[in-house]
């Protein structure tokens, strides 16, 4: 047997290691025995010989101790070497065994790869969203955001909006926090005209970088001297990614000027790689607050107590109790509240919050979702482990005889367990390597599909993820292999060695059945989640939102940031609309004042002859000013009456269009058409309702009863200053090229225009769609995975059971059972297991489903169709998994089966 040399070596090393101390004594005893013999032979008496031998040897006790110590160290080294040698041997052995069973090895390695890969991917996500402290920030655990507690109805939560003057005041009034600074974010336009680009700017107070303790990679970072009115050339610090991308990583970048919105800034330094301030995504540039306020013509940004654009952050002084700081901040905020426009009053209570993401999980929806998914993926990994454990157990039982012989030859049980576990660890290692591919693709996919709006830096596979994968691989291998190894190595010798032994006992098959039932139950839970989220997605897709979001392009430009006033904005957009209409591939162009899902306005509204109007929770009614072809361009249906035309302009009879909810609510029995309404002011002649349109969404996908009305652009109320462009592409036109063309047109319609954001209207819904998309996609992926694993597991269990029952089945067939009956027997066993698991899973899902009801759309959490569908799917899969073993069972040759045992 190939095992024997290995066993012999095991014996020798074990013995040497155990008897080291005894050996030292034996060696010395031998020496004395020989010496005494020789001395006696040369004439000494035995006692004098002994004494002489001792004299020649030296201090026996001392040498004994020395040798013992040497031996001890040697023993430890030998033991360690033996252990490592043993492990290497076990792994080599495992490799040899597995090579002989490539199918089994591949199946298990693949299972591990998927389970470990899914977990590592989720870990990468959770790590970025929750675990990682902000990069390049000294002692981030000392930093505190300063906010206030606000009570709204029954909820109390913390707001962090603070104004620039408030932050300056806090700096003086709260000595417990050093370097109190503020930071905020803003999207601004870099450059003008055709080459204008969007940048994400971090607007900070002068001591922000001193607060964080960050060191620049080139040049210097912003200082308090930059944040003053007399600052000279306004400074800008570049983000590392931006510097690489836009300026090619040029080391001579100091002194270059950048035109950002209405200001010109000089580059003074570059931030280190990975630095994102205290946000999750990195800013492209960092600007000091005062110069930004001055160049934008918005002095209120740094003067007014009411402009809450910043988040205040401070560093807790060492030795100061958080309680003391909070109390002082409370007193400070109450004092500040006396200023005009300041938020709060004499009852304000300050709130201090850590900036570490892991301390503010409850506030971040993304973090919560990521953690939930992490839990789900862990579940799937456990299923995978259970599956593999089942397979290994079945395999170990087949090797009963071999194991029994090894035990009989004296291989310690621990050693045997280690050998068996080595196989599973090796498989896990193979799976772990493959898992890295899963992480890379999975991570990339996740970022692109579901979190495209956050800026991710670095590969999905980084050092921390690698470390996690290594640990997960080891743990998984041990976990999956330990139970089967312990079970299989139990010294039930006599039973195993006897030929014709039956299945290893009810205990093992009960464990396996239990594992299988658990797998099935967990699969059901995941698949129910999939079903619910998919139904929500489908419901959203089928929903008539009132706009043709799939087709229409939106064009948006921040003209007030570059100094345009209302009249100029209006005129410019009229011009742009003409130019865009002339582009190839454009079927319709419209301009409107408000952007669905983003902005809406309300103004004075009165129906003459009525004292009061019914009110709705949503508020309103909301007004929009639109160009004549707006309805046709965005796809809102006119139900009665007409839409606007060129004839409806400034000076002609005032008209308006209302939506269906409004018509029903304000004119329940009468006809809305023809009614005259006072809009914007009583002094303006009333506007006649000429059309009723279908309801369109104002802010959220879930609502459908928003009261909205429209007036023509030419007759608009003067404070609706912003304009948005809507473009309907012609049938078959390429939307991407058209979007680029529209952007170019917008940015070059006049000299010095800023960046224009042109995107499909559907993007406005992305953030709202994310929970359903994510739920459907990830639950689906995990659910499918779990189902596959459960199916494979069921196949394994049934196949094994059939192989054990060959004798019994042979007897049945010999006694006249039909093949169909035997097949039914096997199928029934499998289906029973699956059904138990399904029932358990359905019960579990039924209990848990209401927890996600707020995440669903027009779908009941206990939707019977979903539950029934999942149960049916599981049973079908169970039958499919059992068909092959059942067929094999019915083909058993009774003669062969009866003879074999």
């Amino acid at each position: 047997m190939a095992l024997i040399p290995g066993i012999r070596r095991v014996f020798r090393l074990d013995r040497a290691v155990r008897r080291a101390e005894q050996d030292v004594d034996d060696e010395i005893a031998f020496h004395f025995a020989e010496t005494v013999d020789r001395l006696v032979a040369s004439g000494y008496s035995p006692e004098r010989a002994r004494a002489e031998a001792e004299r020649r040897f030296g201090d026996v006790e001392r040498y004994r101790a020395e040798l013992g110590a040497l031996g001890g160290a040697e023993r430890r080294a030998a033991r360690r070497a033996a252990w490592w040698e043993g492990v290497a041997q076990d792994l080599r052995q495992a490799a040899r065994v597995l090579r002989r069973q490539p199918g089994f090895a591949t199946a298990v390695a693949l299972t591990f790869a998927l389970g470990i890969g899914a977990n590592a991917t989720m870990f990468g996500l959770v790590d970025r969203l929750v675990l990682r402290p902000p990069a390049h920030v000294a002692a981030p655990e000392e930093l505190r955001e300063i906010g206030q507690w606000v009570t709204f109805g029954t909820d109390t939560f913390m707001t962090t909006g603070a104004s620039y003057p408030t932050i300056s005041d806090l700096r003086e009034l709260v000595p417990e926090l050093t370097h109190i600074a503020g930071h905020g974010e803003r999207e601004m336009s870099l450059g003008r005209g055709a080459g204008a680009r969007r940048v994400r700017a971090g607007i900070v107070t002068g001591d922000f970088f001193a607060l964080l303790g960050t060191r620049p990679v080139i040049g210097r970072l912003l200082q308090p001297a930059d944040d003053r009115r007399d600052a000279g050339d306004p400074a800008v610090v570049l983000g590392h990614g931006f510097w690489r991308r836009e300026l090619g990583g040029d080391p001579d970048v100091i002194g270059r000027t950048l035109r950002i919105d209405r200001g010109v800034y000089t580059v003074v330094g570059v931030a280190p790689e990975g630095f994102t301030g205290l946000e999750r995504a990195p800013a492209d540039v960092w600007l000091p607050a005062v110069p930004v306020a001055l160049s934008a013509g918005e002095p209120g940004l740094v003067d007014s107590y009411g402009w809450l654009h910043f988040t205040a952050v401070g560093r807790l002084r060492s030795g100061v109790a958080e309680q003391a700081a909070t109390e002082r901040a409370t007193m400070a905020l109450r004092a500040i509240a006396r200023q005009p426009d300041a938020m709060g009053d004499s009852t304000t209570v300050a709130a201090l919050r850590s900036v570490l993401p892991r301390d503010s999980i409850s506030e971040s929806a993304d973090a919560k979702v990521a953690l939930l998914l992490g839990g789900v993926s862990l579940l799937v990994l456990l299923i995978a482990c259970a599956n593999v454990a089942n397979l290994l157990l079945a395999r170990a039982l087949r090797r009963r005889r071999e194991i029994a012989v090894r035990l009989a030859l004296g291989v310690g049980r621990g050693r045997l367990v280690r050998q068996l576990v080595a196989e599973s660890v090796l498989l896990a290692a193979l799976g772990g390597v493959a898992a890295l591919a899963v992480v890379y693709w999975g991570g990339t996919l996740l970022r692109a599909l579901l979190w495209a709006d956050a800026a991710w830096e670095g590969s999905p596979v980084d050092g921390r993820v690698l470390a996690f994968t290594a640990v997960a691989t080891l743990v998984t291998g041990l976990l999956a292999g330990l139970l089967p190894a312990l079970q299989a190595s139990r010294p039930a010798l006599s039973a195993a060695l006897k030929l014709g032994a039956r299945d290893g006992g009810g205990r093992q098959s009960r464990t396996r059945a239990a594992l299988l039932v658990t797998q099935a139950a967990l699969s059901v839970v995941l698949l129910v989640g999939t079903g619910l989220f998919t139904r929500s997605l489908v419901a959203v897709g089928n929903e008539r939102l009132g706009y043709d979001v799939g087709n229409v392009l939106v064009g948006n430009m921040n003209l007030r940031g570059v100094g345009y006033d209302g009249a100029r904005i209006e005129a410019l957009h009229a011009d742009i609309a003409e130019r865009v209409r002339a582009l190839p591939g454009v079927a319709g162009v419209a301009v409107a004042a408000s952007l669905p899902f983003r902005s809406s306005y309300a103004t004075y509204f009165r129906i003459p002859g009525r004292d009061s109007l019914p009110e709705v929770d949503d508020g309103g009614p909301y007004v929009n000013a639109v160009s004549p072809d707006f309805l046709a361009t965005v796809g809102t249906r006119v139900l009665r009456g007409r839409g606007f035309s060129e004839a409806d302009r400034a000076g002609s009879q005032r008209v308006m269009i209302v939506n269906q909810s409004m018509a029903k609510l304000f004119w329940p029995d009468g006809d809305a058409l023809g009614a005259c309404v006072k809009v914007a002011a009583d002094s303006i002649p009333c506007a006649t309702v000429v059309g009723i349109v279908e309801n369109a969404r104002r802010q959220r996908i879930e609502e459908n009863t928003s009261l909205q009305y429209m007036v023509p652009l030419g007759q608009h109320v003067s404070y609706l200053r912003d304009r948005v462009l809507f473009v309907r592409p012609a049938h078959g036109a390429d939307r991407a090229t058209l979007a680029a063309a529209v952007r170019r047109t917008m940015q070059t319609a006049a000299p010095d225009l800023p960046f224009a954001d042109v995107y499909p209207m559907a993007d406005l819904l992305d953030r709202q769609m994310r929970p359903w998309r994510m739920g459907a996609a990830l639950f689906g992926a995990f659910g499918a995975l779990a189902l596959v694993l459960a199916a494979v597991g069921l196949y394994g269990v049934i196949a094994y059971s059939v192989s054990q029952r060959t004798h019994e089945l042979g007897v049945r067939l010999a006694l006249g059972a039909r093949q169909g009956q035997v097949r039914a027997l096997v199928l029934r066993q499998g289906v029973l297991l699956a059904a138990t698991g399904t029932a358990l899973g359905v019960a579990l899902a039924w209990t848990l489903a209401p927890r996600v009801s707020e995440l669903l759309f027009r779908t009941s959490p206990r939707d019977p169709a979903v539950f029934a569908g999942v149960a049916a799917m599981l049973l079908v899969v169970a039958v499919a998994a059992c068909i092959l073993p059942a067929w094999r069972a019915s083909r058993v040759d009774p003669a062969v089966a009866l003879r074999a045992e």
Binding site: D23, E27, Y63, L70, G71, E74
Partner: protein, 111 residues
């Protein structure tokens, strides 16, 4: 009894003596002691315990390896033999010792 000064000198030389002894073939500790005693004509007084310390230390360093066996007197004894690393050590230490000895001799001969 060799006094302390002699012993420290001996430690370095003890190793090379033992190595050389084992170059003639595997021996047990007692055998090494006898061989050295006979070859040096009992001139060198070595504390036999030190010999065993040397042997064990050299085994730790990988210069010798040991195995239990039966002596020719029928007793269970621990036999030591040189490893290839030990052979290398022997060569190096012999060279060093020879150079040292001849250098000292040259100085003494000038007198």
């Amino acid at each position: 009894m060799p006094d302390a000064a002699d012993l420290s000198l001996l430690q370095g030389t003890l190793d090379v003596l033992v190595l050389k002894t084992l170059a003639w073939g595997p021996r047990h500790g007692y055998g090494v002691a006898r061989w050295i005693a006979e070859t040096t004509g009992d001139e060198l007084r070595i504390e036999e315990g030190a010999l065993y310390t040397a042997l064990h230390r050299m085994e730790r360093r990988g210069w010798v390896e040991s195995e239990w066996g039966l002596s020719d007197t029928g007793r269970r004894a621990r036999f030591y033999q040189l490893t290839s690393a030990g052979r290398q050590q022997l060569k190096e230490q012999t060279q060093r010792w020879t150079r040292y000895a001849s250098a000292v001799a040259r100085v003494l001969q000038t007198a």
